[in-house]
Symmetry: C2
Subunit: 214 residues, 2 copies
DNA sequence: CGCTGGATTGAGTCCGGTCAAGCCTTGTGG
DNA sequence: CCACAAGGCTTGACCGGACTCAATCCAGCG
C-alpha cells in the first residue's frame, strides 16, 4: 500500500467527491490487499476512485458473506458505528480516497455534507434490501441471473468484464462456486448470455434475463 | 384505521419522539391492516408507539420476504426514496405516530433532527446487514436459533411472547413454515428453549443457543 | 361441542452442496 | 518458444437438507 496527498483534482462527480478531495488522502491498494478489517476501529470513510472493492464478513467457522461490490464513485465505510462490521478488500489494484471521520465532523454543519452522506447511506440500505430479497427468496438460477443483470446494468455497455472471480460471486449470492458455475453454463446454454472468457460476457437476450431475475 | 391528533405526551424515549410528537399524527391500526403499501408514494415517516409491525416485499409470483419486525420506539419508512420499497402491516393492533416528510424537512436545519434520522438509518442498515449474513450463510437450524435469540434479547425478560406467527418467521428467515416448525421442535428436544404455547417461550440454555446461532 | 385456522408431523422429492476428477488459462523458467 | 506448474473454472456422481404435499393435531371460540 502506498499513499500520497492528493492535490490533483477530481475527474468525476458530485459534492462529496469535491469535499473528500479537499480533506482526503489518496491511497492505492494492490489486488487482494485489505483496505480495512472487520472489527477494527471505524474512523475512516472511503471513496473508490478506480478499481473495485468487495466488503466481506466472516463467520467463526470460515463461512464468508460478501456484502457488496463497489466501483468508482461509490462510498464505503458509512454503514458503521464504532467498529467496522465488514472488512474491505481490493478486488483489483485500486485507488481509494480516504477521509477521517473527525475531519468530516469538523466540516459538518455545512449541512449539504450531512445530507449527502445520509443520501449515500440510504442508497446503501436500498441495495442491501434488494440483496436481502434475493438471498431469502430466489433460486440459484434467479440469483445468478439477477447478479449478471445488475453488473451489466451498472456498466451500461454491451460487453461486461467481471472484476471478481466465481468464489466472490458465490459468497455474494449465498451459493457454492460449483453451483454458480453450473448456472452460468446453463444461462449460456439457453443463449441468454455469452461468455468470451470466464470474466468477460455479454447479454444476448435481455428480456429473458429480466424474466429469470424475477 | 382511526386517527386523532396527539396532544398526549410521549411516554418513551429520545429527541426524535419529541419531535414527532410535536408535528405528528397518531393513528391506530387493527391486526393485519396495511400501514403503507409497496410502491406507494413515500411521503411519511412512521414511529411505532405500541404493538408490532412487519415490513414485507412481494415477488411477482407471490413469494414473500419480510424485511424486519418493528416494536415500540422503532422508526419505519426511512429506508426509502420516493416510493416505498416494502409495505408495512400491523402484526397486532397497534398505534403509530406518523409525520409528513415535508414537515420534517421544514423543521430541518435544526441539525439534531437530521442527525437523529441518520442514526436511525444507520441502525436500520446494520440490522439489515446482520439479516443478510443470516440469509446467505446460515442453516435452517442456525436461522431459527438466531431469530429466537434476537427476539429474546430485545425483550430482555425471561418469558418471551412472539407477536408473529410461524409463516412470518418463515418469510423472515427465508424458510418454509414446516421447516421453522421442525427446527423449533428440535430446539425444544435439545432442551435449549421451551415453548408454553406456539407463541410463548423461554430460553432454558442461553450458551447453547448462542453457540447454535453462530 | 364442533368449527376453524394455525401448527405439527410424516413421507417422498428435488435443488443445491459435497467430493473428486479433469480442463483451461496464465505465467514462469528452461 | 515450449514445458510445466499453479490456480481458477467446469463437469460429473452422489448425498443430504430443505421443500412439497398431505394428513393430523390442537387451541381458541362461537
Amino acid at each position: 500500500m502506498t499513499l500520497a496527498y492528493s492535490p490533483d483534482t477530481a475527474p468525476t462527480a458530485p459534492p462529496i467527491d469535491n469535499l473528500m478531495d479537499r480533506v482526503g488522502l489518496r491511497m492505492t491498494f494492490a489486488k487482494g490487499e485489505e483496505i480495512f478489517g472487520q472489527d477494527e476501529e471505524a474512523d475512516m470513510i472511503h471513496s473508490v476512485v478506480s478499481g473495485a472493492v468487495r466488503t466481506t464478513r466472516l463467520l467463526s467457522d470460515g463461512r464468508r458473506q460478501i456484502g457488496d461490490f463497489y466501483y468508482p464513485g461509490d462510498i464505503i465505510g458509512l454503514e458503521i458505528g464504532d467498529i467496522y462490521r465488514f472488512s474491505a478488500e481490493a478486488l483489483s489494484d485500486c485507488v481509494v480516497r480516504v477521509v477521517k471521520r473527525s475531519s468530516l465532523n469538523a466540516l459538518s454543519g455545512e449541512g449539504s455534507l450531512d445530507r449527502t452522506l445520509w443520501e449515500a447511506t440510504r442508497r446503501e440500505l436500498e441495495r442491501t434490501q434488494e440483496h436481502l430479497l434475493m438471498l431469502g427468496r430466489k433460486s440459484a438460477c434467479e440469483k445468478v441471473a439477477s447478479f449478471l443483470m445488475d453488473v451489466a446494468h451498472r456498466v451500461g455497455s454491451e460487453d461486461v468484464s467481471l472484476p471478481m472471480g466465481r468464489q466472490d460471486m458465490a459468497d455474494y449470492l449465498g451459493l457454492t462456486i460449483e453451483t454458480v458455475s453450473r448456472m452460468v453454463t446453463q444461462l449460456q446454454g439457453s443463449r441468454i448470455v455469452e461468455f468470451a472468457t470466464s470474466r468477460q460476457f455479454r447479454v444476448t437476450r435481455w428480456p429473458a434475463l429480466e424474466r429469470l431475475a424475477a
